[in-house]
């Protein structure tokens, strides 16, 4: 493919594909990241799309983006600011100009910069000048006319021709990063198996873009060498899919059927979709009539002896509250996933936030403890979904798993685990004996009741939301209610046997401990690592287990002069820590903008705090 000019080697790069929501930017980004992964880069991706399916064309509200951060070393975030912006229209420039690095490369479709589109995006005449981007590396490519020219010999309607614009742009970026086209070409053949003409058009556009980039001699080719990744077999996975698969793995380990009862809600729907696709593994998926039916069908399936899960996002969790209370009372295993989004109410459905923590911990009537855990990366959603199921099944309790929109939609390469390496799951099934079966009789260690499965002769019993004695008789006796309330509390506390100790990244005794939980892990880790490399006395501790917390929290915290709790809310976890470990002082760094932290803002906050007396 011709001789290349001098190639610059870089350690990492952030590329943002951006266009109208109908421009195919999500697919373009996915193809690019798959190619990068196959090449051996470490990477992290994040899609960013509007809540409206087809917002008015050409408007800033309708811009859909996909960010890929790839590197020669470990990558833990999708990157805060882009080195390369691909903008399919003026609105894409408008929406992304604050998220690109100074003097970065902007590739845009010149043909789409019509007066009308420029005006729709809120510019007067020249977006590049109006944004003062003249010093940037601006590549004004006539993408629309180039694909028309390249595809003129094909018998394809105009609309289909213009749909290949994204492939042309992708081709340009492939040339820039010295990538092969074969994976994308194979994809086109697979995707358009029944429309070979369309497959051909996409492949031609891809190559046309590639050669165009080479010809214009305006782009600097960049090489990002493969990252030193641990040996093994890999795949890309996003958080929602990883969550779904974690449950299937848990069901297989427990020897149980998996049942999901859920109602579609952004950004959690991907889990229901991924599980609905797995009939071949016997998953029973029920798309319920509402959120309440989602959890209630799951609870019914749990009563019937299955591994049952329900998935939702903030507003849906609110609707499920009463049924979670019933699960607590019935002491049945159940996993509830909350893929958090910006709230309250409908809030920011497609954006990320961590503001459901208190709802998860306390949002129910009565003394109603549940286990609360949170995953921290797209791929570890698999692990925490598995663990949530293992805890629910072995401790006979509902478990609330918190992820968020950023984790659910974000993806990264993942070393594929082997089922034989995952722990066994052994629910406390009741067995028939000479003694009568008492539904609320507990073991002495976990305080878990035993699970009698309908269909088993001799274990017929009744449970329900009314307070009962351990024999299962409805009881209003004051002392019994307090006794049972405390037993349920103790049962959740006993889950601590499965909670690993809190780990510290960096020195175990230091000036500042950065504390986070859940999905902010990648940004906090990157910030901590950079700060440490720059010589700052900062360590990091991230929580995955919230209720119960790791047993060593106090021992970890007391070795630090200052503690800074960073979270995407107004301080819910900091308050939770104050409740549980009041002996420490907690500084807070909070953000509620629907977007993740940037590494820089975390670093600046740490440095400020370190400098304060």
């Amino acid at each position: 493919m011709g001789t290349k000019p001098q190639i610059i080697e870089k350690d990492e790069v952030v590329i943002r594909f951006s266009g109208d929501s109908g421009d195919g930017m999500q697919l373009t980004g996915t193809l690019f990241s798959d190619t990068a992964a196959l090449y051996g880069n470490d990477l992290s991706t994040f899609p960013d799309y509007p809540a409206e399916i087809r917002a008015p064309q050409g408007t800033v509200g309708g811009v859909s983006g996909f960010t890929v951060h790839m590197g020669h070393s470990e990558i833990n975030t999708p990157g805060d600011y882009a080195d390369v912006l691909v903008a399919m229209n003026p609105a894409a420039v408008k929406a992304n100009v604050r998220w690109i690095k100074d003097r970065s490369t902007i590739i845009y479709d010149k043909d789409s910069f019509t007066d009308k589109n420029i005006e729709k995006a809120g510019y007067v005449k020249d977006p590049i000048a109006e944004e003062k981007l003249e010093d940037f590396n601006i590549i004004a490519a006539p993408i629309s006319s180039m694909v028309k020219e390249a595809l003129k010999d094909l018998e394809l309607d105009q609309k289909s021709v213009l749909r290949t614009k994204n492939m042309f742009a992708l081709g340009m970026v492939y040339w820039m990063f010295d990538r092969k086209l074969d994976y994308t070409e194979d994809f086109c053949d697979r995707k358009f198996k029944k429309k070979p003409e369309v497959a051909k058009a996409n492949k031609i556009a891809l190559r046309a873009g590639y050669y165009y980039a080479e010809t214009i001699e305006a782009l600097e080719p960049v090489r990002i060498n493969p990252a030193p990744i641990a040996k093994g077999r890999y795949r890309n996975i996003n958080g929602n899919e990883a969550t779904a698969w974690g449950f299937i793995a848990a069901a297989e380990k427990a020897g149980l059927e998996l049942f999901i009862g859920s109602y579609p809600i952004t950004p959690a729907t991907g889990i229901l979709e991924a599980l609905s696709a797995r009939k071949d593994l016997g998953v029973k998926s029920l798309q319920a009539e509402d959120e309440i039916a989602g959890i209630c069908t799951a609870l019914g399936a749990s009563f019937a002896g299955k591994l049952a899960v329900t998935t939702t996002s903030g507003p849906g969790l609110a609707l499920k509250s009463e049924a979670i209370g019933l699960a607590v009372m019935a002491e049945l295993p159940l996993v509830i996933v909350d893929v958090q989004r910006g709230g309250p109410s409908t809030g920011l459905p497609t954006k990320t936030e961590q503001a459901d923590l208190m709802q998860a911990l306390m949002g129910r009537n009565g003394e109603c403890p549940v286990v609360v855990i949170a995953s921290s990366t797209p791929s570890d959603c698999f692990h925490y979904a598995f663990e949530a199921a293992r805890i629910a099944l072995e401790h006979m309790t509902p478990v609330l798993l918190l992820t968020d929109g950023y984790l659910g939609n974000g993806s990264e390469p993942w070393r594929i685990p082997s089922m034989k390496d995952l722990p066994e799951i052994k629910p406390p099934f009741a067995s028939v004996s000479n003694e009568p079966y008492f539904p609320y009789k507990r073991d002495n260690k976990r305080f878990a009741r035993s699970w009698a499965i309908p269909g088993t002769a001799g274990l017929e019993h009744r449970i329900g939301g009314l307070e009962k004695t351990d024999k299962g008789t409805v009881s209003y006796v004051p002392e019994n209610h307090e006794f049972m309330t405390r037993q349920r509390e103790k049962k959740v506390e006993a889950v601590v046997e499965k909670v690993p100790n809190l780990k510290v990244f960096g020195k175990e005794k230091n000036d500042l401990l950065l504390v986070g939980w859940g999905g902010t892990y990648g940004h906090l880790l990157t910030a901590a690592r950079e700060l440490q490399n720059e010589g700052h006395n900062v360590s990091l501790a991230c929580f995955n287990y919230i209720m119960p917390m790791p047993a060593n929290v106090g021992d970890v915290f007391r070795n630090f002069k200052k503690i800074l709790v960073c979270e995407l809310n107004l301080g819910q976890f900091a308050d939770y820590l104050r409740m549980n470990h009041q002996e420490f002082t907690y500084h807070q760094f909070n953000k509620v903008q629907g977007v993740p932290f940037t590494v820089n803002e975390i670093k600046e906050e740490c440095i400020k705090l370190l400098e304060e007396k």
Binding site: K279, I292, M419, R462
Partner: protein, 340 residues
Amino acid sequence: MADTQAIQLTAKDFKSDQEVRWCPGCGDHAVLNAVQRALAEIGIPKEKIAFISGIGCSSRFPYYMNTYGFHGIHGRASAIATGVKTANPDLSVWQITGDGDALAIGGNHFIHVIRRNIDLNILLFNNEIYGLTKGQYSPTSNKGLVTKTSPFGTIEEPFSVGELVIGARGKFFARTVDGNLALSQEIYIAAAKHKGTSVVEILQNCVIFNDGIHDIVTGKEFRDDRTIILRHGQPMIFGKDLKSGLILDGLKLKVVKIGQNGISEKDLLVHDALENNPGIQYMLANMRYPEYPVALGVIRNVEWPTYDALVGEQIEAVKKDSKIRNMDDLLNSGAVWNVD
């Protein structure tokens, strides 16, 4: 109904050790009796039976049955029962609910369980009042009923249970009266035998807050003339003297007297509960006194594929064609690559 070998059982086998706590004289006692007798006759082993309820007086029912039971939350029994039956289609699942539980707070689940045709037997205790909260009007209370929350009479139109069931594309609807044990038993057995959502409306008396609400129709002295018991394949005859009947007059049902105006028994409508077109069944379900007798018996009984069976069939069909047999297969499927 689950396909299980029938075994010898008596009503007593189904009584739990819990003391029955409904008010003396409550219609629920009779329903409990009739259900226990019906189950004994059906002969499904009690470990294969699950009773699921919501909230309300009748929803205590599962505690009194020596089967598996789950007393749920208000309005959600349809959803819980849907989960139980879909998870394990071998169970015979009974849902106990009331006019408030099923038609007010649980209205959404009620219509959707029917639409999906989950193989459940739903016993809807209709006493036209909220009893457990001590006497407020319900979605089936007649317009004008004076209650604690309608001291000047309700201004709301009531639901008709049968109309709602058929409107939600229900395949089985029956109506009985709490005190009529023989008829109730017969209907509960028919409901259990029907594969799909079987809704049985039970005209039930609340002795404390709505005493005698159904008496104008079901009272001993009126019932023969003011109700009609429908049986599939039999002419629609009723009345003390068995001389009244129903015919189709244009697009409406009409009460006629055998022997008058040249009407003979063979002119009467013959009940067809198995007909999928619900036209006449709909009119029968909506008959109101005094214009018509109130229909009792199995009004609609149409076989239709059930959701719970289809779930299993779809899983088997997909399994047959898939290369993915276990989790390891799935993990290693699609775009994967090795790092050496």
